[in-house]
Each structure stands twice: as C-alpha cells, then as structure tokens.
Amino acid sequence: MGRVSYLRRLFTVAIIIFVLLGVAPALIMAQETDKKDNRPERGIALYTDYSGVAVAKGETVQMDLTLENKGRTDENVDVRITSVAKDWKATLKGARYRVTGMYVPNGKAKTLALTLEPAKGIGPGKYAFQFEAKTADGKLTANHTLSVDVQERTVGADNIQITAAYPVLRGQTDSKFEFSLEVMNKGDMERTFNLSAVGPEKWEINFKPAYEQKQISSIRVKEGQNQTVAVEVTPNQNANSGEYPVLVRISSGESKAEVKLTVNLTGTYRLDAGTPNGILSLEAFGGKPVTFSLFVRNNGSAVNRNISFSSFKPENWETTFKPEKIESLAPGAMKQVEVTVTPGRQSLVGDYSVGLMVNGEKADKTVEMRVTVKASSAWGWIGIGIILLVIAGLSFLFIKMGRR
C-alpha cells in the first residue's frame, strides 16, 4: 500500500515541473515583444511641471525644467532659452553649472533648475519664456513655453500670524515681564522676520529666543512652521501703577503683523528704615536699656501692610519695638518706632552688631546698628572711695602716731 502512494505522489510532482518549464519562457517572450512595439526609435520632450504660474510682484520663480528621452536611443540634447521676457534674467543650472546641453539616456528624464529673476521695477503683467531642446544631430527639437503672470502684491497680513499665550502680565514695577509669542509663517517659503516693539517711554523691550539669553532683532521661520519668541519688558523704575500697552510688530518685506501686549503694574514694595539723624551707632552699658527711634518709610508705590519687626542680637540681649507692628503704610508715608536695646548683663566691653529687621509683606529692610557697650564706671567711684578711705586711714596714723 505504502509503495503505491509514493509512486503516485512522485508522478504528480513531475507533471507540475514539466508544465512550469514549458509555459514560463513563453510568457516572458510575450512581454518583451509587447514593450518593443510601443516605443519609437527616437523622441525627446521638454517641459516644466507648470506651464503658467502667477507670482507676486518682485518674486523670483524657481522651477524644474525636465528633459525626457522617449526613444530607444540615448541622446545628447542641447538646451537653450530662446526667448526671455524683457527685464528678466533666466538661468538654467544643473549641479553648479549653467547648462547648455546634456546627455539623456533612453527612457530617462533629467531635470535642470530654472530660475527666473525679475528686475526691480518690473510691473504686473504676463511674461512669456520659451525654451528649446535640440538633439545633437539637429534632427529632433522640442519647444516649451512658460508664461509668468506677475500680479500686484496683496498685503498679506494673513501669511504671518502672532499669538501671545498670555497677552496681559501683572507684577511689581521692579520686576521683569516676559511675554511668550508664537510667530507662525503661513507663507509658502522660509522667511526672516524683523522684530520691533513700541512701548512707553524709557522702558526697555528686548526680544529673546525661547530659553536663551541672547537678544535678537530678527528671526528666521520655515514655511508653515512656528517659532517661539520671548519679549522681555523692563518697566521704568519710576513708573506709576497702571496698565501700559506694548505693541509688538513683526514684519517681513511687505507683510507685517502686530500684537498688543499689556503690562499691568501693581507698584513696588519697598521699605526704608533708619534713624532720624542717620547715626547707626549707640552706646550702652551692660544691663542698662537704651532707647532710640527708628523711622520706617514706604519708598515703594504700593501700600505695605502688616509690617513687623525682629532683630538679630546676641543671646541675653533684649530688643523691644514700640509699636510692635504697623498695620499699613501708604506710599511715601513715614512712621516712627521706638526701639529699646538692653545689652546682656555679662556682655563684654566693645562693639556689638545688632541687626534690626523691618519685615513688610513683600519688602523688608535691615538696619545694622553698632552698639558700643561701655564699662560701667560705678566701680570706679567705689574704687575712689576705697582709696580715699585708705588715705584717710594713713593720715589718721600719721597724725596720731607721727610727731613723736
């Protein structure tokens, strides 16, 4: 049984192999004859992808000029520009060279870079350019005409777009404001945008790339992409609180876009403190309190609230403030605080540094006082008493015992 089935299988495989060997060459032959029949002996074509384009005034046209060999023989083709519209400059380039002729193998197409550059003062209208390709033996030619329609430039506010994520910023007068702008190039080519800004007088406005510390005045954006620009605004130190507009203008050639940013100043929190006569030193005796007055002035342009006092002092020393707290201090206002410093009983003779801190809500000020601790002269008087006593004793002895 097994033997019969094996023979059968062998037979089937043999038949399949035979059929494949017979049929496949026939199929390939059929294909080859098919191709050969359709192509002419020789033939060339010259064309650009678009035979007519419309461009804005002043723009350069760049395009590929394609040379195709449609025949079965390889060709050497001369290419030239037969007619150029007035005031235009046309160049054909392949690799780095101006091209006048090229070799095109059969069935292949080759491209050359065509650049059409208008002179400056060229007006709107239609301009035609003709190109001619000729085989080396002059038997075949191909022509192509390209028409360029120059149009008056439409003011393209649309092809730049600026968006500010946070157009209004709020802060103290002495802080810096950093706006983040997204500049989007909606045009069809890479462009350089000039950045400029108009702000209040004496304000400083700088453009910076995002996350970098360079100051820039222009930025390059690829077509269809966007770039982030940071606008750093430093207000004038003397500016009052209020809203200030900053106009950022971005332009490239004729097209421009604007965005209005607003800085909302809340004023500054600044405190000043000192003694009325400006003297920052005082003399004290160990354990004896000394009182002096300290003024606290609001130098900022916003109201300071909840001003408290603290001090940096040696251990065993005491400082008290009267009043202990100032509820609120209007800009420019001044208040007087009585400070009592009591040096420690055991403190040495010499100069100590005592720091008095005025802590406002958002501003503080430290006044360093030099406290000169002096030796108490009480002992001196006691000593003089002792000496007088001793001298009196001696005199008593002299009088009583002398003169013998």
């Binding site: 003779v349 010499g350 360093e368 030099r370 002269s377 000593g383 001793v390 001696l394 002398g402």
Partner: protein, 322 residues
C-alpha cells in the same frame, strides 16, 4: 618735712652707691634690652609687607618673642627689685646701731620710715622709666614705628601700675625689716612671701576650685560648661588674692587694646560671638582704663595698706633699748 627730705637724700645716695642695687638694675636692664631686641627683630620679619598694623608699638612689651615678654618678666622678677631695695631698710640701721643715733636727731620718727619708703619708690620709678625708655628707643630703631598718643598713655599707665606693684613689695620688705631684727631673716621672709604669693596662690586657687566646684564628667554639655565656668570663677577669685595676678591681668589688659576683659574664660553664645566679631575695633583708651581701674585701685590699696601696717609697727616699736 625738713627731716624727711634730709633722710630721703641720704637714702638716695646710699642706693645709688650700693653695689647690690647696681647689680639688680644691670640685670634688669640687660634682660629688658635683650628681650626688646629679640622681639623687635622677630617683629621686623613678621611685619614685612603689612601696610599699617595697629598698636605695633605695644607689642614690643607684650609679644613673647622666643622666651617671654617684658611684662611677664617684670611681673615675675619686678618684686625682687622691691625686696632688694627694702629688706634691710630698718634692721640694718638697727644692727649698725645707727637707728638710735638717727632717732636722737631733731627729726620726727615717722620721717625715717617715710623717707626710706619714698626713696625706694623713687628708685623703682627711675628703674622702670629708664627700662621702658630704653626699650621704646630700641623699638623705634628696630621696627621704625613711632608710638601714638594712645599708646603713650597706655605705656604711662603701665609704668604707674608697675611702680605700684613693685612698691607693694618694697612696703612688704620694709615691714619684714621692721619686724625681724636679723637682715637674713627679713630677706628670707620677703622671698618666702614673694614665692608664696606669686606661685602658690594660683596653685592653691585651683585646688580650692576643685574642692568647691568640682568639674563633673557629664555628657550634658550645658551642665559641664556651667561646672567649668563655676570652677574657673572660684579659681579666679582665689588667684586675685595674689598681687602678681592683679598686676598681670591689669597690664595685659591695658597694653592690649583688643583685649576686652581681663578674664581668661568667658561664656559666650554663638550669636554673641558673631555679633562681636562684626566690628573688631580696639577699645578706646578710656574703656581700657575703666576695665583696669579696679585692678589699679586694688594695687594702690594693698600698697598703701602694706605701708600703713609697716608705719604703724615701726612707730610702736621700742628703739632706744637696742
């Protein structure tokens, strides 16, 4: 008064002509000069390149140089001048049988002891002033720094302190010469008193401190510090009984303007140290004087009291019988 002046002049003549005094003065002048030149030369090297250090001039007297400073030297050996000047003031007259002759002169008896003491003080003053002047001159020559007014005042106070201190020992020596008939005994007694008060009081003070306020070995830092401070206080109070300590503390404070206390140990918190280190100014002269005043007064008092006792004992003594 006439009597005092006559004896005073005679005493001065005796002192100047005595070989003993010349020897001690020569020793002190020599040591002073050696110390000053040593310190001066080492300072010359140290101070090269420093623009204008403060109170350099006083360093001549306080800087230890290679051995010890001038102030330490006077503190230790100054009493010897006093003792040598006074240990035989009365009993030499007595053994020479000149005392009764002196007393029989038409002068008051107290003129003798007063004049002897005054002559001794004058000698001490001459020695001290001349040594200080020698060192100052050498110092100006060596380090090229002229002392300012503040430094001169400090030096003057130092000289006064030294004269008082040595005068105390002069008084003590005269007292022993009144009490003891033999000059050898009074000399030995003076030396014993000097050694005891200069060296053993400090030692006894530390024993006393350990007995009264023992320093316990505890892990608690605060407690240990407290015990240490208390121990130091007891020791200090005990050692203040010694005139040597009084003199040493006073001179080191007056001659070092940056020194703010005569105490050796001070309890000071970290904040206080920070606060104090902010301005590191030298103390003004007046403040130093006020700090030193108790020491000065104590020295004056013990000197006067010592002389007073000496005076009293002498006045009560029977002279003619000898």
């Amino acid at each position: 008064m006439h009597g005092i002046f006559a004896i005073y002049r005679k005493e001065m003549e005796d002192h100047f002509s005595s070989i003993r005094f010349l020897l001690i003065a020569a020793l002190i002048v020599m040591v002073g000069v050696i110390i000053a030149s040593m310190v001066g030369m080492s300072m010359q090297e140290e101070l090269r390149g420093i623009a204008k250090p403060n109170f350099i001039f006083l360093l001549l007297f306080t800087s230890t140089g290679k051995l010890f400073s001038f102030t330490q030297f006077i503190g230790l050996l100054g009493p010897l001048i006093g003792i040598i000047l006074g240990f035989d003031a009365i009993n030499r007259e007595r053994t020479g049988r000149t005392l009764s002759k002196l007393v029989s002169q038409p002068i008051y008896r107290d003129a003798i002891i007063n004049a002897k003491f005054l002559a001794g003080v004058t000698m001490i003053a001459i020695v001290m002033v001349s040594i200080v002047l020698i060192i100052s001159g050498l110092g100006i020559r060596l380090i090229g720094v002229v002392p300012g007014a503040d430094e001169m005042w400090r030096l003057l106070i130092y000289i006064i302190l030294s004269i008082l201190y040595i005068s105390f020992w002069l008084g003590a020596a005269i007292l022993f010469s009144v009490v003891f008939r033999s000059t050898a005994t009074s000399a030995l007694a003076s030396l014993a008193a000097w050694i005891f008060l200069s060296f053993f009081v400090g030692l006894g003070g530390s024993f006393l401190a350990d007995a009264i306020a023992p320093m316990s070995q505890t892990a608690d830092v605060a407690q240990a510090t407290e015990a240490f401070i208390k121990n130091d206080q007891v020791q200090r109070i005990a050692s203040l009984l010694s005139p040597a300590t009084l003199y040493g503390d006073a001179t080191s404070t007056i001659l070092d303007p940056l020194r703010k206390t005569p105490r050796t140990f001070i309890m000071m918190g970290p904040l206080e140290r920070l606060s104090l280190s902010r301005f590191q100014n030298p103390l003004p002269l007046m403040q130093s004087v006020v700090i030193v005043a108790p020491f000065l007064i104590s020295l004056i008092a013990i000197t006067f009291v010592c002389f007073g006792i000496c005076y009293m004992v002498f006045m009560r003594q029977e002279i003619r019988s000898t």
